[in-house]
């Protein structure tokens, strides 16, 4: 029996569908536990991705990992789950380690594939410079799945949804304020990412990066120095000491491709590099390269994307 935790406060994210799909690949009997405001009709759709039943505790806001650990451990106990699955996002990173101690279950943090034949699970190590295969020795295990590692697959029909309460206890964390810029695609989940570095010369030049991102439906990212000098917000900083991402497409303009930058992005399926310097190290990690001035190439690419989109329906 597999238990999957999803956070559904803002609806059913792709990451949530990925974790349910992952659960289905491990077991024919998948229970989903969630909190938050998604309607029962919405939650019932998780059956299409393999859930046998969905349990929801609407009294829990999902922001206190201690409360969530009590809730999830309680449900795991009730349904005799031997495996608990999370998304390796901000919720999974906060709750899965707590649950690991509470259930004395080995934690595979950041899985990028379904388990191998010998039961070990592949994860990125050294910030994506290598992969490791983790073996769990305990009888129970917890796996947190790196977003965008597998694709959601439909495998069934809508399922039953039951409301539960009483397992989570009080929250110790008071939320004073939530600031969420509208319309942004969260970077870790984005399938397409447009990123730029110091080669863009200044924050006033990011309009063309945003235009390209908008034309593609992509998220924006940047190199570390760009975030450090305040041209872009910190949450856009990708790399070894920033966010590690693995989108389908990563377009890097005016970024040299330092080893610490590559570490966070070399899990991307396809990399496009735009740089004036044909010797820039990034070209060695690229699938497609354009030697040219970003100030000319980016707007040209944006126009080409718009022309292409106009032919698609």
């Amino acid at each position: 029996m597999v238990l999957v935790y999803i956070n559904s406060t803002t609806g059913l994210s792709k990451a949530a569908l990925e974790t349910v799909t992952y659960g289905k690949k491990l077991s024919g009997d998948v229970t989903v536990i969630t909190n938050g405001a998604a309607s029962n009709e919405q939650l019932a759709q998780l059956g299409e991705y393999g859930a046998s039943r969905v349990l929801v505790d609407r009294s829990v806001n999902g922001e206190d990992p201690q409360q969530l650990a009590r809730l999830i451990a309680g449900v795991a106990d009730q349904v005799s789950a031997s495996t608990v699955i999370f998304s390796h996002d901000i919720y999974g990173k906060a709750v899965a380690p707590r649950l690991s101690v509470r259930m004395k279950a080995g934690l595979v943090a950041g899985a990028i594939a379904i388990p191998e034949a010998d039961g070990s699970v592949k994860v990125n190590v050294f910030s994506g410079k290598a992969a490791g295969f983790v073996k769990v020795a305990s009888s129970k295990q917890i796996i947190s799945l790196l977003p965008n590692s597998i694709q959601p697959e439909k495998a069934g029909n809508a399922c039953e949804v039951a409301e539960i309460s009483g397992l989570a206890g009080e929250s110790a964390i008071t939320i004073l304020e939530t600031k969420k810029p509208e319309g942004n695609i969260p970077l870790p989940e984005a399938e397409l990412v447009v990123s730029a570095g110091r080669g863009l010369k200044g924050p006033e030049n990011w309009g063309m990066v945003e235009d390209l991102a908008e034309a593609l439906g992509a998220a924006t990212a940047c190199s570390r120095p760009v975030a450090d000098i305040g041209w872009r917000p910190h949450h856009e900083h990708v790399g070894q000491t920033g966010v590690a991402i693995r989108p389908n497409l990563y377009i890097a303009a005016g970024i040299s491709g330092a080893i610490q930058h590559l570490a966070g992005v070399n899990g991307s399926k396809v990399i496009v590099v735009i740089n004036t310097d044909s010797e820039a190290p990034f070209f060695k990690a690229a699938d497609y390269g354009v030697v040219g001035d970003a100030f000319e190439v980016i707007p040209r690419l944006t126009e080409a994307v718009k022309r292409f989109k106009a032919t698609q329906h």
């Binding site: 010998d118 190590v125 050294f126 969420k180 590690a244 497609y288 390269g289």
Partner: protein, 246 residues
């Protein structure tokens, strides 16, 4: 504020990553270890800033062998008051968290701080595990931390934004970028670090929950396809037809 900062070693970011023993062991040959940047730049420096503004004591702790005393001295040189080393070669995050929580339980720390993750195993596990083992609240990925009395006010990253939260001490906090600015130790700090107290404690027996069976290196990219900068329609066509990503 009585603050405990957990620090870990990590290979220098320019280290060449390789494995030996039939790909079952990290090849430490020629690898320089540093203090894990998240632990040093954010957790430790913010702990020192809090101490400087409201008073208190900053202890650093690491689970490691005598070889790790170099990173301990570095953290002391930056300004920590004292250090604890739990004498073991750590096997997994659970082992580390059990050692640290068992030490910290009776010491009355107001805040236990960790970096958001290490740059070698990237697990983001130790902070949450310590919090659970000590039955304390846990605020993860904090980018700002202020203290007043027993109340901590924090900002933390959430999906697509930030959140301001409040929690009572004692609490466990994992620290991300934004918390503080990197500090370079000065000569006085380096001299002082030599005589600051370092307590070595034997490790407790803890069973391993996980291990690495083996490692692998990513497949090398086939060579890059160059596109004429004046022909972006070609790039778009390749991304659609060949790479199939748009």
């Amino acid at each position: 504020m009585n603050i405990l900062v957990c620090i870990s070693k990590a290979p220098d970011t320019t280290s060449k990553i390789a494995f030996t023993n039939n790909s079952t062991q990290f090849d430490e040959n020629g690898v320089q270890y540093i203090v894990n940047p998240y632990d040093e730049w954010y957790a430790l420096v913010r702990a020192l800033e809090l101490k400087e503004s409201i008073g208190g004591n900053v202890t650093i702790i690491t689970v490691g062998t005598t070889a790790d005393e170099a990173i301990i001295r570095k953290a002391l040189a930056i300004g920590a008051d004292e250090a604890v080393r739990i004498d073991a070669d750590p096997k997994d995050a659970y082992f580390v968290a059990m050692q640290i929580s068992s030490y910290a339980k009776s010491k009355g720390f107001d805040i236990v701080m960790t970096g958001k993750e290490t740059i070698n195993y990237n697990g983001s596990q130790v902070g949450g595990m310590i919090a659970e083992a000590m039955d304390l609240p846990f605020v993860s990925l904090a980018t700002k931390l202020d203290a007043s009395g027993s109340k901590l006010t924090l900002e933390r990253e959430i999906v697509g934004g930030v959140q301001v939260v409040e929690v009572q001490t004692p609490a466990v906090i994992s620290c991300a970028k934004g918390m503080a600015e990197q500090r370079i130790p000065n000569m006085r700090g380096i001299m002082a670090a030599r005589t600051k107290p370092l307590t070595v404690i034997p490790a407790e027996t803890v069973e391993d929950l996980t291990s690495y069976a083996s490692y692998s290196m990513p497949n090398a990219k086939s060579s890059v396809k160059m596109i004429d900068p004046s022909n972006m329609d070609e790039l778009v066509a390749l991304l659609h037809n060949e790479a199939k990503v748009i």
